[in-house]
Amino acid sequence: MDINPVTILLVEDNEGDVGLVEEVFEDAKIRNILHVAEDGEEAMNFLHKKEPFTKVPTPDIILLDLNLPQKDGREVLEEIKTDEDLKRIPVVVLTTSKAEEDILKSYDLHANSYITKPVDFDQFIKVIRSIEDFWLEVVRLPSSKK
């Protein structure tokens, strides 16, 4: 079975976080292609394959930060989960907020999971690895590219 690389869309405006995530996925067990959208607008364009993303693949999983410039992460989440074509894509909210209201809001909008970014880098690696393990290896996802 040929294993196609997994397509991951990371919606994150903080370059530092982007760097950390990239760092972790570089050493991932499975092949993956990490795409990064730096704000909500760009993320939606990516998903709707608008310019300049006409040629990108539909991601297998979306890692979404809540506090984003322009279009906020919560709006992005709502749009994805109300879009017939996109709602099946697992969205993992990856944020620094530990606020109860953010957690409740996210699940109300049908986020698939909510993870707070740990401060400790080792913890961070663990978290990303567990995302990888769970969402990319354990869980069966609807096949988008059949």
Binding site: V119, D120, F121
Partner: protein
């Protein structure tokens, strides 16, 4: 005659000498008495009244004699219940009463003394009536003012200039705990707390300078030692001459206000604390007979005349026995059966001619009735004569005439004949009849007048007795003096000639008779000599009120001259009115005092009648409204407020419920300025307990309103700043953490990637940096949790503590097991709380109890006690304890007592507990000693 009677009396009664020489002097004196005097008999009928009484009854003294006193004065058919005379009739003793007499429109003191005549027979009484209306009015007005002072719910305290308490109303008793009989006369300093002893000296100094003190907020000490917050208005009490004679203090209990201020202050402080706590960097935030006698004499003269006429008539009758025919008297000569002859007069009398008569008898002619004729004839035959028989005859013309007939048997020509003499007395009879009638009438009248005269005489005699009784029974002093003049006819003194029994009592001078006033009272003022000298010289009577300082008395005096021009004697009737004068002055003073208390009040005071019209105001009301007292009195109370209807409702409520408290209104000044006030008002009553008006006192709350306004602005600011802080807290969760995470993560990444390529020092630095960043993040998390106690709070609901406790134990299971801790607890109640928060309190306290354990096995006991309206919880441990000097500090944010290494944590746990307990309306504190464990107490309202 009159004087003789008095001489008799002298033997029985007290005066050693006859004081009054003539009836006229008696009358003069009697009528000069200022008091209203009436002499009343045993049937309540007035025998005599004096001029003063008659004037009061609007008539002359003689008008009232014979009337009953009750019909005259009270307008009733029977004596009223309170009639002192009725009581005197019962026991024949002195009585005195104060009576309200409606018809005389006033109040009177009535004293009655019994009168006995020479034979010790009870005759009636002397009434001495004094008008005390003015005094009563004064008393009433004074009572009214006093009632107002008494009913005020401010403490009203009067002091003299030595700061000793002179008056003390009910509210003062209530406020300070001292009853008035206990505190009056004591120095005001009794009310001062120890640290404010100099307070009163400063206040007194100001008052003596005529200044007032307005709304001075201070502390005073109650009888029980407790302190009370009061607001004082202190003003000088000024007498009629404008001199400061005392001090009035009006104290208002402001405990509640102070408490409210304190609470507000606390609120402010706690809010400020939060702001300070959260914004160490943000940093700024801030909390009430003669004619009858003549007629009588005329009648007697007429009677005598009539008697003379009668006698003359009898003499005329005798002239008729001489000549028969020529006799003008009707004569007849007859035998037994018929007239033999008649004279012309007879013919005229009967109407028959002589021929018609002769040969017939009276019966045949129907002049006399047959039987009557037979009767006369028989009587003539038997007696030989008849004299003056009166009979009624009929004339030829059938007229009835009354005849008086006398007949005699005579031998006329040897034959027995009857000669009779008839006289027509018809007219005389009629005249006699009328005269008799008239005489009878006259006699009756004479009899009646005689009786009346006797009566009058009697009563005049009795009056003399009455006078004497009067002068023995009245309280008024009476004396006669001889005024002594020097060579220049200037009066230089007087000698007492006679004095009455009351004299001693009235003057305090004993055995004065025969002595000089100067000897009796060397300091007696000159003006007394001058007055009596003037009366003795001019003969003009005088009435006056004057003070005799040497006797220390006031007198109401009526003095008049006795004797002729050369006489230098004066009669003096006087009454000691010192008591009245003093009580009048005392009442006036008391009135001034009460009035000045009210005027001294800086609060606007008003009294309102049942019709809503203002009846009186004090100076403060004039100030608040801009209108003068005269302008205000009589106007509608509601006219002076921005909301007239609310003002009306207010006083109506007072009439209905008896009072109102803190009734908010706004006084409108003439110039438009508004004063927000709180009214305290209550009804006030007259002596008979009838509600006669409302007394209302307003308190200017402008300052308080302003303070409230400022406070509100402050609170709004705080609310806004709170909201900002919330935002700040939220932002902290992201924006502060983000960079921290970057720092930590990349340092670690650096370490990972370049391990071995850096030296050991570099690795250590990276560790410190990562640790610092981690701690910084924990601090931010805890601060966030602390701010969420108020910002993210749930409502307070009945909450069962048992399940919460169980949950807490379960959360701490690991810690409990690791430390082998033993936990015990009382049955826990259901309380009103935020479940999550109260759970956190238990968790934090138990966690601390285990964390700060000693060497011993941790033993933790949780107890609950019910106290008044709250629960008292105690969490006791046997841990390391806390030095008491730190017992406050430990509840502050991020305050730690130990090194992080020994006891990890940020130091936010107890600060959060304190914040939660305070939000629930409770208190939290610790009792502890180093090495002896700690007990954390907290309370929660039930």
């Amino acid at each position: 005659m009159i004087n003789e009677e008095f001489s008799n009396n002298e033997c029985n009664n007290k005066p050693k000498k006859n004081l009054i020489r003539s009836n006229a002097e008696w009358e003069n004196t009697f009528n000069a008495l200022h008091d209203l005097i009436a002499i009343i008999d045993v049937n309540h009928r007035i025998k005599k009244v004096n001029k003063a009484m008659a004037d009061r009854l609007n008539g002359k003294p003689e008008d009232f004699t014979g009337h009953t006193c009750f019909s005259l004065v009270h307008g009733t058919d029977l004596p009223p219940d309170f009639c002192p005379h009725s009581e005197l009739l019962e026991d024949k003793k002195y009585h005195e009463k104060e009576i309200q007499i409606e018809s005389l429109n006033g109040c009177y003191s009535v004293s009655v003394s019994p009168i006995f005549n020479n034979n010790d027979q009870f005759m009636g009484s002397v009434h001495v009536v004094k008008d005390i209306t003015e005094r009563k009015e004064l008393e009433k007005s004074n009572n009214l003012l006093a009632a107002i002072v008494e009913s005020s719910d401010n403490a009203i305290i009067g002091k003299d200039l030595n700061a000793n308490i002179t008056s003390w109303n009910k509210s003062a008793q209530k406020m300070y705990g001292y009853p008035s009989d206990e505190i009056i006369g004591k120095p005001i300093s009794i009310l001062l707390p120890t640290n404010l002893e100099n307070d009163i000296d400063q206040i007194m100094e100001k008052i003596k300078n005529g200044e007032s003190l307005k709304h001075y907020d201070t502390l005073r000490r109650r009888k029980d030692g407790s302190l009370i917050d009061v607001s004082l208005s202190v003003s000088p009490i000024v007498n009629i001459y404008g001199k400061v004679i005392g001090v009035s203090t009006i104290a208002h209990d402001i405990t509640e206000r102070k408490l409210a201020e304190k609470r507000k202050q606390e609120l402010l402080e706690s809010e400020q604390l939060l702001s300070e706590e959260l914004q160490t960097s943000n940093e700024e935030l801030q909390c009430t007979t003669e004619e009858l006698r003549v007629a009588n004499e005329e009648l007697i003269d007429q009677t005598i005349e009539l008697r003379d006429v009668n006698q003359a008539l009898s003499e005329n009758e005798e002239k008729f026995f001489k000549v028969f025919h020529a006799n003008p008297a009707p004569m007849t000569i007859s035998d037994e059966n018929k007239f033999i002859d008649v004279n012309e007069s007879y013919s005229k009398l009967t109407g028959y001619s002589r021929d018609e008569l002769i040969g017939h008898n009276t019966a045949e002619l129907n002049i006399l009735d047959v039987n009557e004729r037979e009767q006369y004839l028989n009587k003539s035959k038997e007696d030989g004569l008849i004299n003056d028989i009166e009979f009624e005859m009929n004339t030829k013309f059938n007229e009835k005439r009354i005849i008086t007939s006398s007949s005699e048997i005579i031998k006329l020509n040897g034959k027995t004949r009857f000669i009779s003499f008839n006289y027509d007395i018809t007219e005389r009879k009629q005249a006699e009849a009328e005269l008799n009638k008239y005489r009878e009438q006259l006699e009756e009248m004479v009899e009646a007048r005689t009786f009346e005269l006797e009566q009058t005489n009697n009563s005049l005699n009795q009056s003399k007795e009455h006078y004497l009784t009067l002068f023995n029974s009245i309280d008024e002093g009476f004396c006669t003096v001889e005024v002594i003049f020097d060579d220049n006819n200037n009066p230089i003194g007087y000698r007492f000639l006679e004095v009455n029994p009351a004299f001693e009592n009235q003057t305090g001078l004993f055995e004065a008779q025969g002595k000089l006033m100067r000897d009796l009272a060397p300091d007696h003022e000159e003006h007394w000599f001058e007055i009596y000298g003037k009366i003795a010289l001019t003969g003009k009577p005088m009435r006056f009120v004057n003070e005799a300082e040497a006797l220390d008395r006031w007198y109401d005096v009526y003095a008049f001259k006795l004797g002729g021009d050369e006489s230098r004697e004066v009669a003096i009737l006087f009454n000691d009115i010192t008591k009245f004068k003093k009580s009048e002055n005392a009442l006036k003073l008391s009135n001034i005092y009460n009035r000045s208390l009210l005027e001294a009040s800086l609060d606007p005071l008003v009294t309102i009648g049942p019709d809503g019209k203002i009846t009186d105001v004090n100076n403060s009301t004039e100030v608040a409204t801009g209108f003068s007292r005269d302008e205000i009195i009589g106007t509608d109370f509601s006219d002076y407020f921005t909301e007239p209807n609310k003002a009306k409702e207010g006083y109506k409520q007072v009439f209905k419920e008896g009072f109102v408290k803190d009734y908010s209104l706004e006084i409108k000044h003439k110039n438009g300025q508004l004063t927000p006030v709180l009214y305290n008002a209550s009804v006030y009553k007259d002596d008979s307990n009838n509600v006669i008006g409302v007394f209302a006192s307003a308190r200017d709350i402008t300052e308080r309103k302003e303070a409230e306004k400022v406070l509100k602005i402050r609170l709004d600011e705080l609310a806004r700043s709170n909201a900002e802080l919330e935002q700040f807290a939220y932002v902290s969760s992201h924006d502060l953490q983000e960079p921290l995470r970057m720092i930590a993560s990349y340092l670690q990444l650096l370490e990972r990637k370049y391990k071995g390529k850096l030296d050991a020092k570099a690795d250590k630095y990276i560790n410190f940096s990562v640790d610092g960043a981690t701690r910084m993040q924990n601090l931010i998390d805890d601060l966030l949790a602390f701010s969420r106690v108020t910002t993210q709070a749930d409502e307070l609901k009945p909450t069962d503590l048992e399940p919460i406790y169980t949950e807490v134990l379960s959360n701490l299971e690991v810690l409990i097991n690791e430390n082998n801790a033993i936990l015990k607890h009382d049955p826990l109640p259901i309380i009103i709380a935020d479940k999550t928060q109260i759970s956190q309190v238990f968790q934090n306290l138990i966690n601390n109890a285990i964390k700060f354990r000693s060497e011993e096995q941790p033993k933790i006991n949780i107890s609950v006690t019910e106290k008044d309206n709250q629960w008292l919880f105690a969490v006791q441990d046997n841990g390391i304890g806390i030095d008491p000097k730190h017992s406050d500090r430990i509840f502050e944010v991020f305050k730690r007592l130990h090194k992080k290494r020994d006891y990890p944590g940020t130091g936010i746990g107890l600060a959060i507990c304190k914040k939660i307990i305070e939000r629930h309306g409770g208190l939290i504190w610790v009792e502890s000693e180093l090495g002896k464990g700690s007990i954390f107490y907290f309370t929660l309202p039930k």
